[in-house]
């Protein structure tokens, strides 16, 4: 069964239709890279799936259960939306760490707040808190920041900040982890460390969708590449199929432009 299924997602902003019917599904453990030129709708698609934008039409399923249906006009409670939101994790282009908290607290804030909703929170408070800390430390170790627990975001490089934000998303154990151009705000030197972390996650079979402009990286790390153009999926296949033998004209010209730059 697919872990995520997107059906016919449409989204318009004013007069511009950004998404014109996007459909795909992905399996557990799969790594999907989404490529496409600016304005092709990649980021909007991610935002719609993560409930940051409300799609005008379409359905979203997680493990077969519908979590979003644009047809359904009954008001969904904020609590329900939050619950659905936690199926996913999102790493932003601009990190969006909380500046007033140190690295460890950035990672622990959300799990701590969520734990308060647990029925056994009052009884097992100490145990729950220590488990959260253990999880957070483990995640930060995984992204190589165990030395920076007490640092504040402003004291870190962009690459380190992005690694904290990856740990912050991972600690909630999302079923699918999304990356929205995770290296676009970083200089080439720092890009490498993020790509390394993502590659390790891929090796550990983390289910991921990565919007990126790093074509070489996408080719190496992704099981599957989706090429978006003008609000639709123009091509969807293995890296060999999409990057080495693109069938679609737009894909071809997009890749050619990238190759010329090299």
């Amino acid at each position: 069964m697919s872990v995520l299924k997107i059906e016919n997602i449409h989204k318009r902003f004013g007069k511009t239709e950004v998404l014109k019917g996007v459909t795909f599904e992905m399996n557990k453990g799969e790594v999907v890279a989404i490529l496409g030129s600016s304005g092709s709708g990649k980021t909007t698609l991610l935002r719609c799936i993560n409930f940051l934008e409300k799609a005008d039409a379409g359905k979203i399923y997680v493990e077969g259960t519908p979590v979003f249906d644009a047809e359904n006009k009954t008001k969904i409670s904020a609590k329900e939306i939050r619950k659905n939101q936690l199926n996913f994790g999102l790493v932003f282009q601009s990190f969006n760490l909380f500046p007033q908290y140190n690295v460890l607290d950035n990672v622990m804030l959300a799990p701590k707040l969520l734990a308060k909703e647990r029925e056994d929170y009052k009884v097992n408070k100490a145990l729950i808190q220590s488990e959260i800390k253990k999880d957070a430390l483990q995640m930060l170790e995984q992204v190589g920041l165990e030395q920076k627990l007490e640092s504040y975001p402003c004291e870190l490089s962009g690459g380190q900040q992005q690694r904290v934000s990856i740990a912050r998303a991972l600690v909630l154990k999302p079923k699918v982890l999304f990356f929205d151009e995770p290296t676009s705000a970083l200089d080439p030197e720092l890009t490498g460390e993020i790509l390394k972390v993502i590659r390790n996650l891929a090796l550990n079979k983390t289910t991921m969708i990565i919007v990126t402009h790093e074509i070489e990286f996408a080719k190496n790390v992704a099981d599957r590449i989706i090429f978006m153009d003008d609000g639709v999926i123009a091509e969807d296949g293995t890296p060999e199929e999409v990057i080495d033998n693109p069938k679609n004209n737009r894909t071809r010209s997009f890749l050619n432009k990238f190759n010329e730059l090299k």
């Binding site: 993560n50 409930f51 940051l52 904020a78 939050r82 619950k83 939101q85 936690l86 996913f88 994790g89 999102l90 932003f92 601009s94 969006n96 760490l97 909380f98 500046p99 007033q100 804030l109 959300a110 707040l113 969520l114 504040y152 975001p153 402003c154 934000s165 912050r168 998303a169 909630l172």
Partner: protein, 225 residues
Amino acid sequence: MADMTFNEIVRNLFEGFYQNGLIFIFTLIFAIPLGLIITFGSMSKFTPIKSLPKFKPIKWIAKTFVWIIRGTPLMLQLFVVMYAPGMLFDIPMKSRMTAVLIAFVINYAAYFSEIYRGGIESIAKGQYEAGQVLGMTKRQIFFKVILFQVIKRITPPMSNEIITLVKDTSLARIVGIPEIIMCAERFTKSGLIWPLFSTGLYFLFFNGLLTILFGYFEKKMNYYN
């Protein structure tokens, strides 16, 4: 009055300044939270009628309120609060101090609310979105993520406004509160000018303390950017 000693005059001025201090403290205590409520009002997106998405009554009420309060002199507001209830509704103000506090709290809450609004609107959208994708409620996002950043950003303009408040407290004399300048002015009738001029020192000293306090507060929050 002319036969008062220097010490007695100074003590008399201190008694006046105590009134200024009372107005200052109570205005802060009430205006700081009231300002936040007005801010929420002026940022409200509440639309009671679905077919009229531009009809936002709470926002309009809050905005109109701020416009009136910021658009008229505090001195006039003091007169209105002091005398209008008695003249219009036959319920005269029992205490001058209450009238002064009502006028000051309303006036400063309006100014504070605009400072808060500026601070809240200056926080990047990404902070809200990050909280949202981490499954935080709107309340949690505001109190655990946004508020602290807002406090840091509004400290300089709030310091400014609070220092203005210290000086504005002397307006209370127009409804008969014996604040420091009113006290000092009595001495001029017997030919003593220096007490009036010396009142400046009280204000300078008090505002000096506040300036140090705000500086310390700003420094405290400088651990992050």
